[in-house]
């Protein structure tokens, strides 16, 4: 009996360890020595697992497409993906491992700024170019000249929401609830605060929580007493869902505003109707009618069984695409050459917009604002362009100061922006659930992704 129990334990342990094993990407790539290795670090498991798995799908699609078109300089690309379980230390370890034992040409990752900040020093020290698909915290690319990103930075998202709140929603007061354990959340909150005040609004209360908390009633009760017209919660979807529910429970009914950390199909599953009428800034919208986006959505769905790409998938696709584009232009595949080519990226036609690297290695591109509608549908509510050379540092080529472009009204006028209810994304799968979710982010449970 005891022997049996020991065997049982060994089995369970083996299974448990097996699940943490690295995921070999790259599809059917041939022998490793003829392939160019690219390292990917992501949270395939943990509370932000959908971030990692979505990004992985985007990167994989970009890689498969480049490989199918003949690869780079005659070589195929092999993506080696490591799971960091959503832990910063693991991200650093994974980066080190990819650099020193796998000798990757470049690194893709991480989604979360906190983890990118742990990876970046490793990449910088080894002169391995690193492209983060969606870490929006300013500090990430400040680590060194080998660190790039394919997304805009926090100041921009905070600015976008402040601008949207004052110009479109005509709000005068707002409260902030930020996640103090998350650089991303703190960064967005800070810039929202500055810009909202600058644009004539008033922040009536500022509270905080720690990611993973489940009880927010104390903070929300205080916020309610301050009577704001909106609540800015630049957190991640799991916490935001719970916050939305509890806000309604304590009687705080104002709309909530947030950033791209909201973007997950789990948001609505957890928060439910409490989220309806809230807005968040994001990198792209599947409902955007531009052909570039619709073609990408179609390819992605084809590759992943009808799954609609969320913005993390789209950004990861762009990050990988931008990296491969630079590698094609680079004179050879050493770190310094790839870095050089990446830094010169100009008007790269990504699905999330035209990407130009500024001199701080941050992507300059527009943002969209989405509204959480009935049943969790995301409605495209406007596009906000970057404002001048703001906060990006001195010397950046001045971009003309732009007003909110397109339609910024909560109810889009016909002809400019489609609402998802009228125009379901093309090619939606037939399954009832997919139909119900059209316009909302879809995904399969992360556990299933990781076996891909």
């Amino acid at each position: 009996m005891r022997r049996m129990s020991a065997n049982f334990l060994v089995c369970v342990l083996a299974v448990a360890i097996g699940c943490k094993k690295e995921q070999q990407g790259g599809g059917n790539v041939g022998a490793a020595d003829t392939a160019i290795k690219i390292g990917e670090v992501g949270s395939m498991t943990g509370t932000e697992a959908t971030f990692g798995t979505s990004s992985h799908n985007g990167i994989q699609l970009a890689t498969d497409e480049v490989n199918a078109a003949g690869g780079i300089k005659g070589k195929q690309i092999q993506v080696i993906a490591l799971d960091d379980q959503g832990k910063p230390e693991e991200a650093a370890t994974a980066a080190t491992r990819l650099i020193s034992s796998e000798r990757v040409a470049a690194l893709l990752g991480e989604v979360a700024s906190t983890r990118s900040l742990f990876m970046a020093p490793k990449a910088q020290a080894a002169k391995t170019p690193m492209v983060s698909p969606s870490s929006t915290n300013e500090k990430v690319t400040q680590v060194g000249d080998y660190i790039f990103r394919a997304c805009f930075i926090d100041p921009f998202q905070g600015y976008v929401m402040a601008k949207f709140a004052t110009d479109t929603l005509k709000l005068k007061t707002a409260a902030i609830l930020r996640d103090v354990r998350n650089d991303y959340s703190v960064g967005l909150a800070k810039v929202f605060n500055e810009n909202f005040t600058k644009l004539g609004g008033k922040i009536v209360d500022s509270q905080s929580y720690s990611s993973g908390d489940v009880d927010f009633k104390a903070q929300l009760t205080n916020i309610k007493a301050a009577k704001p017209q909106a609540l800015y919660v630049p957190g991640y979807y799991t916490d935001v869902g719970l916050i939305a529910r509890q806000a309604r429970e304590v009687g705080l009914t104002v709309p909530m505003l947030g950033g791209d950390g909201w973007d997950s199909e789990k948001l609505y599953e957890i928060g439910g109707a409490a989220l309806e009428g809230s807005y968040f800034s994001n990198h792209y919208s599947v409902d955007d009618p531009s052909p570039r986006i619709q073609e990408f959505v179609a390819r992605f769905k084809k590759a992943y069984g009808g799954q609609v790409p969320d913005s993390l998938a789209a950004q990861a696709y762009d990050a990988a695409g931008m990296l491969y584009d630079a590698m094609k232009r680079a004179k050879d595949l050493t770190g310094p050459s790839i870095r050089e080519a990446l830094a010169q990226t100009k008007d790269y036609k990504g699905v999330t917009g035209d990407i130009t690297m500024d001199e701080h290695r941050n992507a300059t591109k527009p943002a969209v604002v989405l509204k959480v509608g009935k049943g969790g549908k995301y409605e495209f509510s406007g596009r906000i362009q970057p404002e001048g050379a703001k906060e990006a540092g001195p010397g950046e080529p001045p971009r003309e100061p732009k007003k909110t472009e397109g339609n910024t009204a909560p109810n889009p006028a016909p002809g400019t922006t489609p609402t998802p209810t009228q125009a379901p994304a093309p090619g939606a799968t037939n399954s009832a659930q997919a139909a119900a979710n059209t316009g909302q982010r879809q995904g399969v449970p992360a556990g299933e992704h990781s076996k891909k």
Binding site: R2, S5, F8, L9, V12, L13, V15, A16, G18, C19, K20, T45, G46, T47, A49, T50, V180, Q207, S208, Y209, S210, G212, D213, V214, D215, K217, A218, Q219, T221, N222, A225, T238, G241, L242, R245, Q246, R248, E249, V250, G251, K266, E269, I270, G272, A274, P445, A446, G447, E448
Partner: protein, 302 residues
């Protein structure tokens, strides 16, 4: 003033759940002097099984009823009770003669096994839980303070189970045996107490309580994920120590103090200091009264 009352209500309901988890810690410690770190993860398993029972195996969550909710809770209790039994039987019993440290490390190992095994088996994504026919937004108001029915259920069930537990421990044969084993295992064995049975029973009872706590917690906070047992487990452990580990009423009291301290600190000081201050209170109380609030100073055995 109304705000203060509102914070107190939230604190009591949070504290009641801590207390319910703490009961399991305190009982196992009382009998075995073992801190069962896997307890917080059995709590997670309880919530997770509740999710499966209500959303996967049946359609209970789509149309929750009281009968269905009780059935779901019973299923979850049965699974957790079995798990508790297996953990003790195959994990702790073989180590019973060895130093306490070995069992402690095994407990930590089981905790990780359940957490990461859980991530593998259930997937790491959080799920929405809704097995009870009331949701946290169903509330009534008293003097301007809103109280949700789930808060009431949490407090009611916790107090009820504490009373039941007290009766089991002090007014039943198995309870007498538990106290005997706690006092002196070899002598209890000489008196004809089947030690293995008593210890197994203790684990099953603790795990069943954890399952109930898991369901209540998931109903109040609507979220189930494999790592959800980590913080509540730790805080329940603190509650148990605070109240005097090994003491059932102490666990209850400790849970309430911790829940209230957390809510009041986040309301009136800063939520960033919430855990720091809550744990500082623990240190203070233990400095003044090392055996915990209701712990007996003479509990030290020779």
């Amino acid at each position: 003033m109304i705000d203060l009352l509102q914070h107190l209500v939230h604190g009591v309901s949070l504290g009641a759940i801590y207390a319910l988890i703490a009961l399991g810690y305190t009982m196992v410690y009382g009998v075995l002097q073992l801190i069962n770190f896997a307890h917080g993860d059995v709590f997670m398993l309880g919530a997770m099984m509740g999710w499966y029972a209500s959303s996967r195996w049946t359609q209970e969550a789509a149309h929750p009823t009281w009968f269905g909710a009780i059935a779901v809770t019973l299923v979850s209790m049965a699974i957790c009770g079995t798990t508790g039994f297996l953990i003790e039987r195959f994990g702790y019993r073989p180590l019973r003669g060895s130093p306490k440290l070995n069992s402690l490390i095994t407990a930590i190992g089981f905790s990780f096994l359940l957490e990461y095994g859980g991530q593998f088996v259930f997937g790491p994504n959080p799920r929405a839980f809704g097995a009870l026919p009331v949701s946290p937004s169903d509330q009534f108001r008293v003097l301007g303070v809103s109280i949700s029915y789930i808060d009431l259920i949490c407090v009611g069930v916790s107090v009820g189970l504490m009373i039941v537990l007290n009766r089991i421990i002090f007014h039943s044969r198995i309870g007498t045996a538990m106290r005997a084993v706690s006092w002196n295992p070899p002598v209890a064995a000489l008196m004809g107490v089947n030690i293995d049975k008593v210890i197994s029973f203790t684990f099953v009872l603790g795990s069943v309580l954890a399952a109930v706590a898991g369901i209540l917690f998931a109903s109040a906070y609507r979220k189930v994920e494999p790592l959800m047992g980590l913080m509540p487990g730790l805080k329940a452990f603190v509650s148990a120590v605070l109240g005097g580990i090994g003491n059932v009423q102490g666990a209850m009291l400790g849970g309430l103090i911790l829940g209230l301290a957390e809510q009041l600190v986040s309301s009136y000081v800063s939520s960033q200091w919430k855990d720091a201050i809550a744990f500082a209170i623990l240190i203070l109380i233990l400095l003044v009264k090392p055996s915990g609030l209701l712990g007996k100073g003479t509990a030290e055995k020779v």
